[in-house]
Amino acid sequence: MLEITNLHATVDGKAILKGIDLTIQPGEMHAIMGPNGSGKSTLAYILSGRDGYEVTEGEVRYEGRDLLVMAPEERAAEGLFLAFQYPVEIPGVPNTTFLKEALNAGRKHRGEGPLDAMQFLKLIRQKTQELGMTDEMLKRAVNVGFSGGEKKRNEILQMAVLEPKLAVLDETDSGLDIDALKTVADGVNALRGPDRSMLVITHYQRLLNYIVPDKVHVLAQGRIARTGGPELAEELEAKGYAEFTTAAA
């Protein structure tokens, strides 16, 4: 599904990623953990194609294709989804309009016709109910006036509607209270499947109590410092990241 080889990247001329290797198979869930400033969000932005992040070396293949040459919207239409750490507000654009535009853009890219109003309404009604969201949230402008938890839930709703093949969740747990965390985790778990891969980026282990990954990677100082199973997350929770930040210093 995703194959990252020797990835180096800079932001404003400063080296952030210094040789990342990571392979994710279809259906797998990987977690990337690491201290602040280790390059976790940079990796998420490079995968999704944000401007301002320069790849200086290495390559990223997505379903066998060169991901880095694709425009952000093309990556999205090909099934790559990023749940934002800080979901963006778009005043005046109702959530439903946004979802419909996004869904139909992807369908168009795949050569499918747009969903008509009835089909679309049925789809999002079902998805919002599954996520315990209200219809009222659909009418509001995208993320405007949403609480932290609502914004994150809204990201999961978008993911559920767009049904990506590879979902990158960037600190989806940050700023959530325990109830919201559970709801979001339930939403993510519901989307797990043999054809859908996920990359969960997190600072804390607590999300991984609810979303159990196949593999856990520690990202420190721009490299993957260690890889293990779910037990690695628990170890980190107990010991912290000191071992990784000092070792390379």
């Binding site: 944000r50 401007d51 425009a71 919207e73 999205a76 778009i90 005046g92 535009e101 996004a102 978008q158």
Partner: protein, 484 residues
């Protein structure tokens, strides 16, 4: 029947009369000689078989116009206009248009397609001389019949001069006097045609009126003159313009629109302006210098202006409300989009004269490319306007590094009990928003259109339904090429 005979008689008299100012009007010719002068005005008036009072009014306007300096206070720049190097009257063209859509500029057709305009309408808009015209005539005829049943008069202003001279004489120039401003004064002297609407007492006009359905709407172009009168307790909604790009050979457009709302009457006037803006360097666009004003003459009357301005090289336009009647309400909702080299200086004037008059202004300016957009507004509260209230909200959105947005609000309050509020914001379209949309699969230009439509939502909601849908698409099309 009698009216027709009378009209024919008037035309004959005018055609045959010796022009009392000393020259004979040649009306055999279809086009007035180039340039501007009393003879040309006499020619136009004679062509239209106008009564003496109207000709005199035109000439009075012309003579005053000669004494007026060019208004140079707007935040726009252009070369001085050469008024003598233009034609002020030419008969509607026949058979010169393209024979089929294959002969029409493909660029124009692509835009029509994006707007989702049906083929038949495309032909009409592009001026293809085919039987589509018959369709429109028959539609318009049914339309007229329905209006006739409720007593609404909707015709060209030339026709109204003949059929309802008393109404025209009473109200023409009563809101925008002939000496109002340079462009309006020129319009008063040389206006060629436009719309006339009269809604009788207590009648709610059963449909949206649109120039599109007016018979003989062709070629009113350059100096359009519109007069709408809503008698006591009546209601009318009027749509002007068209989302399809309109091309015209004339550079200067100086229209005048006058609205009169009597006691308890309401007029809603919506405009979508999409005149040719010129090329990317700003060559060849239309100068749209328009005077629009409404008078809320009666108590509890209401006038609401909604405009979507995306076209023209230069837009100079301030649809205004004179709130004379007690408790009268004025509204102005505006979206002005400028791209490439376009310049817009637009806004409104709300003149509070009556007690408890209220006004609301929501203006959204979007600038892209190297364009410049200015909101200019006046809120004036007279000493007698006890309890007057105004709320103004001006928001500017910038796309790119080379455009400008300006807000120039004038507030004059001479009554202590008045409450006037002004809010203004300026923001740039954010990279975060665009990236967020693109990450969800929405292309860059669609993302800009989506964000801008969101920014304009409060105003778009004021438009009648079918107009709003087209206007949303137009917002996107106007900003094509503004990012990336």
């Amino acid at each position: 029947m009698a009216a027709t005979v009378e009209t024919a008689q008037t035309v004959k008299e005018v055609a045959e009369r010796k022009y009392k100012y000393g020259f004979v009007t040649e009306i055999e010719s279809e086009t007035a000689p180039k340039g501007l002068g009393e003879e040309v005005i006499g020619f136009i008036s004679a062509k239209k078989g106008e009564p003496d009072w109207l000709l005199e009014w035109r000439l009075k306007a012309y003579r005053h116009w000669l004494t007026m300096p060019e208004p140079l206070w707007a935040n726009v720049t252009f070369d001085a206009l050469d008024y003598q190097d233009a034609y002020y009257y030419s008969a509607p063209k026949t058979a010169e248009g393209p024979k089929s859509l294959e002969e029409v500029d493909p660029e124009l057709l692509r835009t029509y397609e994006k707007l989702g305009i049906p083929l038949r309408e495309q032909e009409m808009l592009a001026g293809v001389a085919v039987d589509a015209v018959f369709d429109s005539v028959s539609v318009a005829t049914t339309f007229k019949k329905k209006l006739h049943e409720v007593g609404v008069i909707f015709c060209s202003i030339s026709e109204a001069v003949q059929t309802h001279p008393e109404l025209v004489r009473e109200y023409l120039g009563s809101v925008v006097p002939y000496a109002d401003n340079k462009h309006a004064t020129l319009n008063s002297a040389v206006f060629t045609d436009g719309s006339f609407v009269y809604v009788p007492k207590g009648v709610r006009c059963p449909m949206e009126l649109s120039t599109y359905f007016r018979i003989n709407a062709a070629n009113t172009g350059q100096f359009e003159r519109t007069l709408i009168i809503a008698d006591e307790g009546s209601y009318v909604s009027y749509l002007e313009g068209c989302t399809a790009p309109m091309r015209d050979e004339h550079q200067l457009h100086a229209a005048v629109v006058e609205l009169v709302a009597l006691k308890d009457a309401e007029i809603k006037y919506s405009t979508v302006q999409n005149w040719y803006p010129g090329d990317e360097e700003g060559r060849g666009g239309i100068f749209n210098f328009v005077t629009k004003r409404g008078a809320c003459r009666g108590d509890n009357s209401k006038i609401s202006w909604t405009q979507v301005e995306t076209g023209s090289a230069i837009t100079w336009k301030y649809p205004s409300c004179i709130l004379q009647g007690d408790n009268s309400v004025g509204e102005f909702y505006s979206i002005a989009i400028t791209n490439n080299m376009q310049q817009a200086d637009t806004g409104t004037k709300m003149i509070h004269l009556g007690k408890n008059t209220r006004s609301r202004i929501i203006a959204k300016g979007i600038s892209a490319g190297r364009s410049n957009s200015t909101y200019r507004g006046l809120v004036k509260v007279s000493p007698k306007a006890h309890g007057a209230r105004n709320h103004t909200q001006c928001d500017s959105l910038l796309i790119g590094e080379r455009c400008g947005a300006h807000t120039v609000p004038y507030i004059e309050s001479k009554n202590r009990s008045a409450r006037v509020e002004h809010e203004a914001t300026t923001s740039k379209i954010s990279e975060d928003q665009l990236f967020y949309c693109r990450q969800r699969g929405i292309g860059e230009e669609e993302a800009v259109a989506l964000v801008v439509n969101g920014f304009c939502r409060e105003v778009l909601q004021q438009l009648p339904m079918e107009f709003a849908v087209e206007a949303q698409k137009l917002v996107g099309i106007s900003l094509e090429g503004s990012v990336g």
